[in-house]
């Protein structure tokens, strides 16, 4: 049962996809052609990466004539930010319990 966070993590764990996404974040909407021109991979490969980013909700496409423009959807990153803050809170509370335990333990 893939959950949304799983899909998100997997889609961004690939450096090429992450670079494409990041470029869209930094530079705004772009076509597949424009993205391919500056990538070290082929246009079909870029298209495939964009498809996976779209499945994860990280990009949106807009058709204009024969061109497809892609833009980043930053709201989709929320679960990722959540993971780091959740795990930080988790370890902080466990360390509280650990300190409690250490005080109670025998020498």
């Amino acid at each position: 049962m893939p959950n949304p966070r799983d899909v998100l993590f997997r889609s961004l764990s690939d450096p090429t996809r992450r670079a494409i996404f990041e470029r869209l974040c930094r530079e705004g909407e772009q076509t597949v052609g424009a993205l391919t021109a500056r990538a070290g991979v082929s246009q079909p490969a870029v298209s495939k990466h964009l498809g996976l980013l779209k499945q994860a909700g990280l990009v949106r496409d807009r058709h204009e004539g024969r061109l497809t423009h892609y833009s980043a959807q930053l709201g989709a990153l929320a679960p990722l930010i959540d993971w780091t803050s959740q795990m930080t809170g988790f370890w902080q509370s466990r360390f509280d319990q650990l300190e409690d335990l250490l005080r109670r333990m025998d020498q």
Partner: protein, 141 residues
């Protein structure tokens, strides 16, 4: 041009504890003690040992974390793989003696290493990625 260590998203929590590393090590490696501060478990301090941590089940999650011991350096370093909710990560607990006790650090890294990258824009890892993203978000909001 790969930067393998950078291909992870890490959470780090650190704390100075007024007890020696040996006492903390016991709490990190003896199952009945681990249960008291972390979760129910069948841990053994042996590299390669597979074990589970068990929390109370929650909606959408069995409460089971699948783990495997990676590193055991008594009183110094303990690390294990930690798989839950579709995220594979590695938890590393590091103990450093101090004049007042021990500096305890936990790092949880959320991604496996990726294959070598071939896209010229991807020269840095998750931390920088998120930092930059925050800058982008700050500009937009």
């Amino acid at each position: 041009m790969s930067e393998p260590e950078g291909e992870t998203l890490s959470v780090v929590v650190e704390r100075d504890i007024p007890f020696p590393p040996e006492r903390i090590w016991r709490a990190l490696t003896q199952p009945h003690l681990i249960e008291e501060w972390l979760m129910k478990n069948d841990f053994q301090p042996v590299a390669g040992h597979r074990f589970t941590l068990r929390a109370d089940p929650q909606p959408g999650w069995s409460g089971v974390i699948d783990c495997e011991v990676v590193t055991v350096e008594p009183n110094k370093v303990l690390s294990y793989r930690w798989g839950a909710l579709g995220v594979d990560s590695v938890v590393t607990l590091t103990l450093t003696p101090t004049s007042a006790g021990t500096h305890l650090r936990v790092e949880q890294s959320g991604f496996r290493r990726d294959r070598p990258q071939n896209y010229q824009g991807a020269r840095y890892g998750w931390q920088k990625f998120l930092a930059k993203l925050e800058q982008v978000l700050a500009r937009i909001v």
